[in-house]
């Protein structure tokens, strides 16, 4: 089904760019010819499970299209997986027959052990739309091919005669590569955009002219939405709420954080709140976890995301599992992060709980500063700002100023339980 799209595109616009990557550039016709050749030369793989480590290369993308055409169940391993651990990851899946068109993704695992989630090309395509306005669009792939969001970008480009621009390295490198290839569509995490805006030279930002900017994978706060609006006034801003488990669920395009509270009462959207936690319908979600029982269709899925209705808006209040317990108080690390990000000179923040013999946990902040800022001056400024905006238990007590942050292949900050 993917190869058919590539073949159709190769007939309609053979010379148009399909993929630009560190290992080469391919037109639609070249990709179609290469994959057709491989499919003809090799035996079908129906019933077989084949692993693919999803590096940001044209080679990995072509292999993915080939495996789908040959009928294999594809297990996409994240690019950061250490070499030699393939067997261990595959063993997590257990055994069992596979159906053609199945795709296994590992949940990004910002905490804990990644789980294999079973999708199909049909479920992955459920929210991919085709529109004349997207013809010839160019998409910067900031997510790994092994991430749900990464595959959404790939399928959007393939369905719309678009091009995929792949790169290795930092968000600034992504921005530079994107500007060079004239990308029209950016889809990335809020963390990616904060790094992009803070670390790109002004001439690169000025030469990036996206018409569409999509945020996903993490909660989009008002600060990052406003900053993107200022830097890219011509772009439409969309933030998507999605997860590996539930599939893409909804998107918001009014430039405001959260989503309209009216959606909770609408029969059209399976969104509910129970005990402060967002529940979503799984109708469009994945088929189930491998090695676990399959949930009934139509069941509401607990997302682990805590929400609060404020006026006409539902706002996100962090992950249930990431709550920090300071004395008797519950602290939402995302709220603390949001407040610290308001301080000029702060590029990225990760807030977590540090063990404390006296309080159970204390709030710790790891902070990445813009190059022209010094920790000595910023510590007091951050502390003062946090004290003004937060309850005493929420104010970070332990501060680490770091040079870099680990990000997952899908561009989220790695969150480690302490």
């Amino acid at each position: 089904m993917i190869l058919e799209r590539v073949r159709a595109g190769a007939l309609a616009h053979p010379e148009r760019l399909l993929v630009a990557a560190p290992d080469g550039q391919w037109s639609w016709a070249a990709v179609a010819a290469e994959v057709d050749r491989r499919v003809l030369d090799a035996a079908p793989l129906r019933g077989e499970t084949v692993a693919l480590q999803a590096s940001a290369t044209a080679a990995a993308l072509l292999r993915l299209i080939e495996l789908e055409a040959r009928g294999a169940r594809v297990v996409l391993l994240p690019p950061e997986m250490e070499p030699g651990r393939e067997a261990e990851w595959m063993a997590r899946l257990g055994s069992g027959p596979s159906q053609p068109g199945e795709v296994v993704l590992f949940s990004s695992g910002t905490t804990g052990v990644p789980k294999g989630a079973l999708h199909s090309w049909d479920t992955l395509s459920a929210r991919v739309h085709r529109s004349a306005g997207l013809d010839g669009s160019r998409w910067l792939l900031t997510f790994a091919l092994s991430a749900f969001a990464g595959l959404q970008v790939v399928l959007h480009a393939l369905d719309n005669g678009g091009a995929l621009v792949l790169y290795h390295g930092t968000p600034a490198e992504g921005g530079r590569t994107g500007a060079e290839h004239g990308v029209t569509h950016l889809s990335a995490t809020p963390t990616f955009y904060r790094f992009l805006l803070a670390t790109s030279p002004p001439e690169v930002l000025a030469s990036l002219r996206p018409v569409q900017i999509t945020l996903g994978g993490e909660v989009a706060d008002q600060g990052v939405l406003d900053a993107l609006g200022r830097s890219f006034p011509q772009a439409r801003l969309t933030h998507v709420y999605a997860s590996t488990e539930a599939g893409a669920v909804f998107s918001v395009q009014d430039g405001r954080a959260g989503f309209p509270a009216a959606w909770l009462d609408s029969a059209a959207t399976p969104l509910r709140i129970r005990d402060g936690e967002l529940l979503v319908g799984r109708a469009r979600g994945m088929k189930g976890y491998l090695g676990a029982h399959r949930a009934d269709d139509g069941e509401l899925l607990a997302t682990g995301d805590l929400v609060e209705v404020v006026g006409d808006r539902v706002l996100f209040r962090g992950r249930r599992s990431e709550r920090i317990h300071v004395g008797g108080a519950k602290v939402d690390p995302s709220e603390v992060e949001r407040v610290l990000l308001e301080v000029p000179g702060v590029v990225a923040v990760r807030v977590s709980g540090a063990p404390s013999s006296l309080m159970g946990q204390l709030v710790r902040a790891e902070v990445l500063l813009a190059p022209d800022r010094t920790p000595a001056a910023m510590r007091l400024a951050l502390r003062a700002h946090a004290s003004e905006r937060l309850r005493p238990q929420e104010v970070p007590r332990l501060w680490n100023f770091v040079d870099t942050f680990e990000r997952t292949s899908s561009g989220k900050l790695v969150r480690r339980a302490t």
Partner: protein, 82 residues
């Protein structure tokens, strides 16, 4: 640096953040309400920082009590590294 100095520095850092003059720190200075007015969060902060630097926490295994700066330093002198 001597353990005592490290402890005084950690206390001074919290004083600094609370807007108190660090010169107020003497052996007989009371840490609680009748002195520097350190609350439980302030003390937990000092203890967590010192655990990171000295590798010991007198509050980890037992109920430890103190009144003055000198008492607090003494708790650390008696505690063994974890």
């Amino acid at each position: 640096m001597e353990e005592r100095e490290i402890i005084l520095e950690a206390l001074a850092r919290v004083c600094d953040e609370k807007g108190l003059a660090p010169t107020a720190l003497q052996d007989h200075t009371v840490l609680g309400a009748s002195g520097l007015d350190f609350d439980s969060l302030d003390m937990a902060t000092v203890v967590a920082e010192l655990d990171g630097i000295l590798g010991k926490d007198p509050f980890a295994s037992q109920q430890a009590s103190f009144h003055t700066v000198a008492d607090f330093v003494e708790l650390y002198r008696r505690a063994t590294a974890s």
